[in-house]
């Protein structure tokens, strides 16, 4: 396939029969995929989008209310933002622990994955799940199995953007 470019002995050229077989297989698989796609139930995009919109919007509105409450009580805007993140992460974690967040996610999809509460959910859910495999190789090792890529690429992008900002200024 496309992926075996590395190691191994150089490939022998295919005989004509093998080539015909391969092409026939590719053709059959394509025809089959068309049949399967015609049968599959479609996701209801409109309903999903509406649910994602209002749930995501509600989470954001709650975040905004919390920020306003912090600033009204005298916290500077920058600190209020950090404090809000802490509260939202707590809420996401708490709802995951209660077994509620996966139900919200089932309905809202990206509406509850994108906000920071979803990020908390993606860290806490494997941590809870792998507790039985111990605290080192279970909880700690598996905690970032889903959030890890987000962190890695988030850090890389922030470094790149930082470099661009430095070069421009």
């Amino acid at each position: 396939m496309a992926n075996n470019k590395q190691q191994g002995p150089p490939k022998k050229p295919l005989t004509l029969t093998e080539q015909v077989m391969q092409q026939k297989q590719a053709y059959d698989q394509k025809a089959y995929k068309q049949l399967a796609d015609s049968v599959k139930p479609k996701n209801n995009v409109l309903v999903n989008a509406i649910n994602a919109f209002w749930v995501g919007g509600t989470i954001s509105a709650i975040g905004q209310i919390i920020t306003l409450m912090f600033t009204a009580n005298g916290l500077p805007p920058k600190d209020a933002a950090s404090a809000t993140v802490i509260v939202m992460v707590f809420l996401g974690t708490f709802l995951t622990g209660l077994g509620v967040y996966d139900r919200i996610g089932k309905m809202a999809g990206a509406g509850s994955i994108i906000p920071i509460t979803g990020f908390a959910n993606s860290i806490v859910s494997p941590a809870m799940e792998y507790k039985r495999e111990g605290f080192v190789f279970g909880v700690a090792a598996k905690m970032f199995s889903i959030a890890g890529p987000v962190l890695v690429y988030g850090f890389i992008i922030s470094v790149v953007i930082g470099l661009i900002a430095y070069l421009i200024s």
Binding site: Y32, L35, A36, K40, P41, G109, I113, S125
Partner: protein
């Protein structure tokens, strides 16, 4: 040298068809609430079954099912010559650890969700070959253990697509013997691995349907039968998507199965009420539906002859991440009340 018990290209015909003496099924609460809930021998209160982890719960379900089937046949574990079992977890731990508890000579199997029918086919060969008297075959699967191994942690807030299936929590055991009362296994058609190029692990019905159809058609050709010769043709866990595709593929080959073809993944849940999307899946899906509902149908005389095809998606998360597609397999077993 030709093999005397083979007919056609790939079917075996047993000269003394082994008898299904007893079956037992244990399921989780969701399956107990489903339309077949009353046909199962035991429904657990929760997904933990009194254990501290889901893996241990699955193992205990398997052990209970095996003990129950041996009891039902009024035998003791020492009377069982061979125990054949498998499950979905890495290194088939449910089967291995259950065998550790039971202490019966053990052959571990892996055929993904087709393992129930795979084990019944092999057990029949062992018995008809004269290598064993009593053989127990068993399988298990568990929604939570399968989710965490194949997909996401269970508390992760993700949306399941409409093609996704719900892994059945439960275990089934079947006790076979050369003689006794009960339906007999007359033929077995061993499945070929068929790869239709499907890569979506949330769409196993499409991945398995061509393998099931391949086995069904070979069974018809080898036995000289047609769909009307069976009261029921039943696949393991193709679900709604795979069932529709299989029906269409058989139609293309001029076999009309619209009246007598069903799928255990469709039968086990009430899909609207239980939110199971395309249907049930897992080793236990075909296992408990056979051990509970279908055995009941045989005993009531509602069905006299069925072709059961255990379907397995030979899915590996590692292979999928490396860009491979999902191969499927289907093992066919003909069961008949003689």
């Amino acid at each position: 040298m030709s093999a005397p018990k083979r007919i056609g290209k790939s079917t075996v015909q047993f000269s003394n068809p082994p008898v299904i003496v007893a079956t037992a099924s244990v399921v989780g609460p969701k399956e107990g609430e489903g339309p077949l809930g009353k046909t199962f021998d035991m429904v657990t209160q929760d997904s933990y079954f009194g254990q501290e982890s889901w893996e241990k719960a699955e193992r205990k379900m398997l052990e209970e099912a095996v003990k129950m089937v041996i009891n039902k046949a009024r035998l003791k574990p020492q009377d069982i010559d061979v125990f054949l079992a498998g499950d979905l977890l890495n290194q088939t731990i449910s089967a291995n650890y259950a065998a550790r508890t039971l202490g019966i000579p053990f052959l571990g199997l892996y055929g993904a969700c087709s393992t129930m029918y795979e084990s019944m086919a092999i057990a029949s060969m062992i018995i008809d070959g004269g290598f064993a008297h009593h053989v127990v075959t068993a399988v298990s699967s568990h929604y939570d253990t399968a989710e965490r191994q194949y997909r996401f942690p269970t508390e992760q807030g993700v949306q399941r697509p409409q093609t996704a299936q719900w892994t059945v929590s439960g275990a089934a055991a079947v006790l076979l013997a050369p003689a006794g009362n009960g339906p007999r296994i007359t033929h077995a058609t061993i499945g070929k691995v068929v790869d239709a190029g499907i890569k979506d692990p949330n769409d196993m019905g499409s991945a398995m349907a061509p393998a099931a159809v391949d086995t069904i058609v070979r069974n018809f050709q080898d036995t000289g039968r047609s769909p009307v010769d069976y009261d029921l043709i039943v696949t393991g866990d193709l679900g709604k998507v795979g069932h529709t595709i299989a029906t269409k593929l058989l139609q293309q080959q001029q076999y009309d199965v619209s009246n007598n073809y069903n799928d255990c993944g469709i039968m086990i849940y009430d899909h609207e009420r239980q939110d199971t999307h395309a249907g049930g899946s897992g080793c236990a899906c075909s296992g408990v539906v056979f051990a509970g509902h279908l055995m009941g149908q045989f005993n009531n005389g509602k069905i006299k002859r069925m072709l059961g095809v255990g379907t397995g998606a030979l899915l590996s998360p590692t292979a999928i991440q490396q860009g491979e597609s999902i191969p499927g397999i289907g093992h066919g077993v003909v069961i008949e009340m003689l």
